[in-house]
Amino acid sequence: MMVKELEKSGKPVVHITAMTPVSQAIGVNRILQATGGIPSPMCDPKASEEEQAQQRYRLISTAVKALSTDIKEQTVFY
């Protein structure tokens, strides 16, 4: 709901979430599958520190890519 309202400003918004189906059901346009689960969406807390840092870097890079992608319909990025 917040995502949709933010996008009404005309600025692209990407929603990083562990629960993509909810985001899809709500009608968010750009959705990015979180790396970890709900308690730790940005990385897998069981991985090593270096790996976690890499996961976060990869995830945010994908977020930047999603925001630069011209989409015509709701899209889930991975």
């Binding site: 709901m1 917040m2 995502v3 949709k4 309202e5 933010l6 996008e7 009404k8 400003s9 005309g10 600025k11 692209p12 918004v13 990407v14 929603h15 990083i16 979430t17 562990a18 629960m19 189906p21 909810v22 059901a25 709500i26 009608g27 346009n29 750009r30 979180a34 970890g36 689960g37 709900i38 308690p39 730790s40 969406p41 940005m42 990385c43 807390p45 976690q52 840092a53 976060r56 870097y57 995830l59 945010i60 890079s61 977020a63 930047v64 925001l67 630069s68 992608t69 011209d70 989409i71 015509k72 319909e73």
Partner: protein, 348 residues
């Protein structure tokens, strides 16, 4: 005697709270937790077994959870599965919808659940599953159980299921014709509706018009290396001590935190106040919700113009549309003079 299976989470299954949300499915004989109060309300039906599963386990290991539960159920005879009630618990509601859908598809046995109207499980599963409208917290248990029992009794007896409003379930999105009493002809109904409309009294249209709310897709960022990104988090991670007093659920405001000069976030300086998940990971490492280090690296490499210095943090747990929309509007208002190119929103 008809046989009923109950599905509940680790909390209502009396295994534990958030710390036990990772618990694998277990099968108990007879009714457990809310099942004890539900059993006497069922007519000619017995809760033979209760499946209990941790919310996180089901959510993050859905396939394994389903396989285990399938193993539990495949040798049991049952006529109905009841899940929940799940109130306003997002993961629990989603899992209840998920298990109902699975049982219906796999065993061709009806499955019903009950939750609050804003539980995300409603939108996700209402088309496939009868979800009764329930209260927003476990305090409403005593009101929700009779609803479940009444509907279950009807299904078990093979009575016709009337329309959503009449039965108290969330519409499955199917419109169908209903024959009314002969006196309720369309001319009388139209005239009465017009009189109410003319007098400014409330009236109810018979054909509600629901336009799926779509937000126009915003144009993409042209050049990320010149763009400024705003980070908004609904993951509930805030500076230690929660200076803005953000509530653990149904939050109606957010905190704004300036990260200028910081390259990373340290444990002990931040904490999670989100009421919907185990805080162990977030408290041990706030980067699990606020990936500041990743943004800084992209800045240094020149791949993005920059991260907007302030981040906006709140709790997404149990939030209503009204609160969410209001907070989004306030954020936009606060930033209307700022040069922001795009927004990254991280949620739990």
């Amino acid at each position: 005697m008809k046989k009923v299976i109950l599905y509940i989470n680790q909390f209502f299954g009396q295994i534990g709270g958030e710390e036990a949300a990772d618990h694998e499915p277990v099968l108990a004989e007879g009714p457990v937790g809310p099942g004890l109060a539900l059993q006497p309300q069922l007519k000619d039906a017995q809760i033979t077994h209760t499946v209990i599963c941790g919310d996180d386990y089901m959510n993050e290991h859905t396939r394994q959870a389903m396989e285990t539960i399938e193993g539990f159920l495949k040798d049991l005879e049952f006529d109905l599965l009841i899940a929940g009630p799940a109130f306003f618990a997002g993961r629990y509601g989603t899992n209840c919808g998920r298990i109902c859908q699975f049982v219906q598809q796999r065993f061709h046995v009806p499955a019903i659940t009950c939750m609050y109207r804003e539980n995300p499980g409603v939108e996700m599963f209402r088309k496939d599953v009868y979800i009764l409208e329930g209260g927003n917290s476990a305090a409403k248990m005593r009101k929700d159980l009779p609803k479940l029992a009444r509907f279950a009794n009807k299904l078990l007896a093979g009575d016709p299921i009337l329309w959503a409003e009449e039965e108290g379930y969330f519409s499955r999105g199917v419109r169908a014709e209903v024959v009314l009493d002969r006196s309720r002809t369309a001319d009388q109904r139209a005239f009465d509706m017009l009189m109410k409309k003319l007098k400014g009294e409330p009236y109810q249209t018979e054909s509600p018009i629901e336009i799926p709310q779509k937000v126009p897709i915003a144009p993409p960022v042209k050049d990320p290396s010149k763009a400024t990104y705003l980070f908004v988090s609904t993951g509930g991670v805030v500076p230690m001590g929660n200076p803005d007093h953000i509530t653990t659920g149904t939050a109606d405001h957010y905190g704004v935190y300036d990260l200028t000069g910081q390259d990373t976030l340290k444990a002990g300086e931040w904490e999670s106040v989100h009421g919907g998940y185990d805080h162990a990971y977030a408290n041990a490492d706030p980067l699990t919700h606020i990936p500041l280090d990743a943004f800084r690296k992209l800045e240094q490499e020149g791949k993005i113009g920059g991260l907007y210095p302030k981040i906006f943090c709140t709790v997404g747990n149990l939030n209503s549309e009204t609160n969410a929309v209001n907070m989004a509007r306030e954020i936009l208002k606060e930033l209307q003079d700022q040069n922001i190119s795009a927004i990254v929103l991280g949620s739990a």
